[in-house]
């Protein structure tokens, strides 16, 4: 089959050819899609389980605790036990809630990350869809999630949920701008919106090093804005446990609650993956210019490992934020966006354009 851990494109093409030969080309395509979809569903489930476990362990380390230790060795089966518990819990509903929207909301929240994850290049050739407007698509799709949050808050018929949903709406709509602009800063450098091209363009060094000052500023803005977009602390105003009990998902229980929970973690993965792809070269190993022996040595580590190393580093950073900082207030958060991040971002794009025009990057 031509399987290689370093380059998946032959392997994928062979499978595709095999399916097209065995069945008709159309049926082969459809079967291929189903296989990919199943893979992604499995991956998302696994991702949710492992990220919840990692988050709990990392949080425990920050707080001088051990974290889950009981179920399985070092508590590794804790999240499995939690999911089983959530599945068997009664799905409660408030009396006058809008039943249709109430049940719809968790799925809408879940759709956004599932649609976005298909664009992520996990390794060379290991990418489900490769649009030439990849970044644009991811940004557009990931804002669907806010609809789900608004619906959840509205249909719960709970005042706390409604406040949480309204906060979330204001938050995501404004922080979207900063995410897009910070990503565009790198697009100015790489000259393409296609994710595979952006990764390929970092063969001689990651953009965060080659783009120096403007790229680092863009990365900081991206991390801050995307933390806010994923409703994670210190921007978890929509949940705001100490103010609104649980915000928009106060009234959800059982598996519907699990969907919100899962969506948060998959969103976090997507943010980390996009950040890693745009700023840190995705699956591209660490290359420094044309130093042959160094680049060859780095190439020995498979690209998949590089990708997941970078993603975990960014996820760790996000967790570090969440477990260190107090929460902002809603108006301060909007001030941060409109008075600080957005002007800085626009100045940064200008700076980046000058850098690109004068060829002042590495």
């Amino acid at each position: 089959m031509g399987f290689s851990i370093y380059d998946f494109s032959d392997f994928i093409n062979n499978i595709h050819a095999f399916l097209s030969e065995t069945f008709s080309p159309v049926a082969g395509n459809i079967i291929g899609m189903v296989i990919v979809a199943a893979c992604f569903l499995g991956f998302i489930a696994l991702l949710g389980l492992s990220l919840v476990y990692i988050e709990r362990k990392v949080c425990a380390l920050f707080q001088q605790r051990l974290g889950p230790m009981r179920v399985g060795k070092w508590g590794t089966a804790q999240t499995v036990a939690d999911i089983i518990k959530l599945i068997f819990k009664e799905p409660l509903m408030t009396k006058d809630s809008d039943k249709f929207l109430f049940n719809l909301a968790p799925f809408i929240v879940m759709i956004a990350p599932v649609m976005a994850i298909s664009l992520i290049p996990f390794s060379k050739g290991l990418q489900a869809v490769d649009f030439d407007i990849g970044i644009f698509y991811i940004v557009a799709v990931s804002s669907i999630g806010v609809t789900g949050i608004l619906l959840a808050g509205w249909s719960s018929n709970n005042k706390y949920s409604l406040i949480g949903a309204m906060r979330s709406g204001a938050q995501i709509v404004s922080y979207e701008l900063s995410v897009i602009l910070s990503l565009l800063t790198i697009v100015v450098l790489s000259g393409s919106l296609q994710l595979s091209v952006i990764v390929e363009s970092q063969r001689e060094g990651w953009w965060i090093f080659r783009g120096h000052i403007p790229a680092i500023i863009a990365f900081i803005i991206f991390i801050v804005a995307s933390t806010a977009e994923s409703n994670r602390g210190p921007f978890d105003m929509a949940e705001a446990e100490s103010e609104l009990t649980a915000g928009f998902h106060t009234e959800y229980s059982g598996i519907k609650f699990a969907y919100f929970f899962l969506a948060e973690y998959v969103n976090m993965f997507i943010i980390a993956a996009v950040g890693a792809t745009i700023f840190f070269g995705g699956w591209m190993p660490l290359h420094i210019g044309n130093i042959e022996f160094f680049n060859n040595a780095m190439d020995l580590i498979p690209p998949v490992i590089w990708f997941f190393m970078k993603v975990s580093a960014i996820i760790f950073l996000l967790m570090w934020f969440k477990w260190t900082f107090p929460r902002l207030r809603i108006d301060q958060m909007l001030t941060l966006e409109w008075k600080y991040l957005l002007p800085l971002n626009i100045m940064n794009i200008l700076l980046m354009s000058i850098v690109v025009l004068t060829d002042f990057h590495f």
Binding site: L61, F62, Q64, R65, L66, F321, W323, T324, F325, Y340
Partner: protein, 161 residues
């Protein structure tokens, strides 16, 4: 104008710097797992030792001959603010003098009502009762918390009045 721009950027700088100061503190603990303070409770039962003054529950001290020092004077019963202790006493004849005297029949202790204030221990004139260092008091039925402290067949020590 220039000063306000300067202030704008110095605000950003100071803000980001203060955030990094906080992250340094939490980061320190991630890199120092030896400072973890969790005690894994049910596992460390064997090594977990309470301080000697810890108030777990009231016990009546019995020696190896199954004898205790309680005269049934009910000073502890009076000292208790919550009616935790009930002493049901009996009349008996003193073997030496032949006079009637009071002995305890049952020393009832309601653990569910006890606030562990230690007043009964202070009140006891013969030091017959003390606080034990037990700490696992959960039971399935509330009635199990009502305890009889004098052991079956026990009697008062010689020479305790």
């Amino acid at each position: 104008m220039l000063s306000s721009i300067k202030k704008y950027f110095s605000d950003i700088y100071n803000g980001v710097k203060s955030l990094f100061t906080g992250m340094k503190v939490t980061g320190h603990y991630v890199t120092h797992p030896s400072e973890i303070i969790t005690q894994q409770y049910p596992e460390n039962r064997d090594t977990l030792k309470m301080f000697e003054r810890f108030r777990g529950e009231v016990v009546l001290i019995h020696d190896e001959n199954n004898e205790h020092k309680c005269t049934g004077c009910s000073a502890c019963e009076l000292a208790c603010p919550n009616g935790t202790i009930e002493i049901i006493s009996d009349k008996a004849i003193d073997e030496e003098t032949g006079k009637p005297k009071k002995i305890i029949d049952t020393f009832v202790y309601h653990l569910q009502m006890c606030t562990f204030c230690n007043l009964c221990i202070l009140a006891c004139p013969t030091d017959a009762i003390k606080m034990a260092q037990t700490y696992e008091h959960s039971v399935f039925d509330r009635s199990e918390l009502t305890k009889v402290l004098n052991k079956p067949g026990s009697k008062i020590m010689q020479g305790i009045k």
